[in-house]
């Protein structure tokens, strides 16, 4: 579903992303971890066909993002880190507007909006202006908007960072459900719990590079961490993440080419 090879992105003098190679099949989930400024958001924008790569290749559903970015954008649902909602629109009007942009039939649009508002417990707020919503509610609306057209590839940047634990769990269930229905997911997060819950593969990024990509077992082996001695349990993803990032501290901030 998603093939990325040697992806690089440069902003002026700054190389924000270099040599990223990943692939995600339909029904799979890749979680990208990394400190702030590691290049995760830039990677998502390139995968979504919003930014054109400075080097390398991004293919979604066999379509090269450099050749036909509009077709790529039609197949992708991007949920940015900031929900970015039109404050003077009601939720229904807002979702209907984006549904129309994605060419969803009016009837289908209405039924899907009702269904998703129900899933995220926003039915009662359906006619309220988005400007009156809390941060968590906005994030839910952003997730609904990104997935309203049933995209083949969902790209979400910290999808549950503002949600309470219960709502976050509900969002994870929803994302897992999309995965079961055949969508591929790429998620950037700082929440290790979320990563462990959703991930098939995990990519750890730093300074615009992927330090390690693999499933939890492979990463555990690669980190060199043993059983946690004091409680005799396997190291958590948090331990693995910190160990891998610490091993590559030398890469850290210098990215100016």
């Amino acid at each position: 579903m998603l093939q990325v090879e040697g992806l690089a992105k440069r902003y002026g003098d700054v190389l924000a992303l270099q040599d990223l190679t990943v692939s995600v099949e339909a029904g799979q989930c890749l979680v990208l971890l990394g400190r702030n400024g590691a290049g995760k958001t830039t990677a998502l924008r390139c995968m979504a066909g919003v930014l054109l790569p400075s080097g390398g290749m991004v293919k979604v559903d066999g379509i090269d993002a450099a050749d036909d970015p509009a077709a790529v954008r039609a197949r992708v649902g991007l949920m940015p880190e900031v929900p970015g909602l039109y404050e003077r629109m009601s939720v229904r009007a807002y979702l209907d507007h984006f549904g129309a942009i994605y060419d969803i039939e009016p009837e289908t649009r209405r039924s899907r909006i009702d269904e998703l508002l129900e899933v995220f417990e926003l039915t009662d707020a359906g006619d309220r202006w988005l400007g009156t919503f809390s941060k968590g509610m906005r994030q839910k609306v952003a997730l609904i908007r990104a997935t309203l057209h049933r995209p083949r590839l969902v790209l979400a940047d910290e999808p549950t960072s503002a949600l309470d634990p219960d709502s976050a769990r509900r969002a994870w269930i929803y994302l897992k459900d999309l995965q079961r229905k055949g969508s591929a997911l790429v998620i950037c997060t700082h929440s290790m719990e979320e990563a462990e819950h959703l991930a098939g593969d995990i990519g750890i990024m730093s300074a615009g590079r992927a330090l390690a990509i693999g499933n939890l077992v492979e990463l555990r082996r690669r980190s060199g961490l043993k059983m946690r001695q004091e409680v005799r349990e396997l190291p958590t993803l948090q331990d693995i993440y910190l160990a891998i990032v610490d091993n590559h501290r030398d890469l850290a901030e210098v990215r100016t080419a």
Binding site: D13, V50, R73, Y102
Partner: protein, 331 residues
């Protein structure tokens, strides 16, 4: 000239959303209604009052035209604010990334935003003009249809030129404050344009106004094309990273643009149409003038009356009255 492809329905979606946003705030609606009703009613009433209290016919006629110009221009300035806000405002409110991540093409987003701003501004301009005409002209015994039509057309073109220029600024500014500062690059040239237009209106010659409108159409088309060519998702979404060393970057851009310049013969081929027009324009104009002069295409009466008008102006223009607005000639 190749125009970009766009799906009108999708451009309309962008335009309708922007329009809804523009009319969703009470303060904005009040400002719009004020511009459309209060100023025209005030100006129209002023003209009527002058006529009722013994203003001379020539003065009242001229003032009614200046009033129309005034009423149309003030709402047009409203378009500048809306257009400046179109991209940089969305960027500041963080809604731009969502819009740019949709399958909408650049042309659809650009056209939608321009249409939304033009719709609001032109509705205000023409609403104001209609209200003004209804208040000022009934019973005045004077209705300069030709000049008002020319004024209406030149207003569309002026607003389009202002909007196109403001959208270019909005695309390139990083913040709303920067956009407002850069707006002086539009306001200053437009003030000159408006003075020229005001002079033409006072002259009372509709044909000059039509030529002026034609000129503004060309300016608007050029600016709209420039705006579209400068529209880049990349530039709008790029982080501010890498924006240091502005002089070095500017030099780099200039160098790169020269590096991409086509070979001389190819450049000539690409510019063939404007060069042909420029090369053919002078001889064609001269020939047309000669033919018109030698074949009496212009009625001799017109030529004679123009001569008389010119001689009367040069001999005793200080003592002459205003030109008669009904026949566009000096008495």
């Amino acid at each position: 000239m190749i125009w970009p492809k766009l799906e009108r329905r999708k451009a309309a979606l962008v335009a309708v959303r922007d329009l809804r946003d523009a009319v969703s705030e009470l303060r904005l609606i009040l400002a719009m209604v004020g511009l459309t009703l209060a100023i025209p009613i005030g100006a129209g009433s002023g003209v009527r009052a002058l006529a009722a209290f013994g203003g001379g016919t020539a003065v009242v006629d001229r003032l009614s035209l200046v009033g129309a110009f005034f009423v149309v221009f003030i709402p047009a300035s409203f378009s500048l604010v809306l257009a400046l806000e179109s991209f940089v405002g969305e960027r500041e409110r963080t809604t731009l990334e969502v819009l740019l991540s949709t399958p909408l093409r650049e042309a659809e987003i650009y056209a939608g935003k321009v249409v939304a701003v033009l719709t609001v501004s032109l509705t205000l301009c023409y609403g104001g003009l209609i209200v003004y005409c209804l208040v000022a002209f009934p019973g005045l015994g004077y209705f300069p249809l030709g000049i008002l039509l020319a004024l209406a057309l030149s207003t569309i073109c002026q607003v389009a030129a202002m909007v196109a220029g403001a959208v270019i600024i909005s695309l390139n500014a990083r913040t709303m404050r920067a956009a407002n500062v850069m707006a002086s690059f539009i306001i200053l040239p437009m003030s000159v344009v408006l003075q020229v237009e005001a002079a033409l209106i006072l002259l009372g010659r509709a044909e000059f106004l039509w030529c002026f409108a034609l000129l503004m159409i060309v300016v608007a088309i050029v600016l709209l094309r420039m705006g579209f060519n400068g529209f880049s998702r990349e530039a709008l979404l790029a982080r501010d990273a890498g924006l240091g060393h502005p002089i070095r970057r500017a030099m780099g851009v200039v160098r790169a643009s020269f590096g991409r310049r086509p070979a001389f013969l190819r450049l000539l081929w690409m510019r063939r149409i404007p060069m042909l027009i420029a090369a053919a324009g002078f001889p064609i104009g001269a020939l047309a003038g000669f033919v018109a002069g030698s074949s009496s295409a212009i009625p001799p009466a017109v030529v004679r009356s123009r001569r008389r008008w010119r001689s009367s102006r040069t001999t005793s223009w200080l003592s002459s009255s205003w030109p008669c607005s009904r026949c566009s000639r000096w008495d």
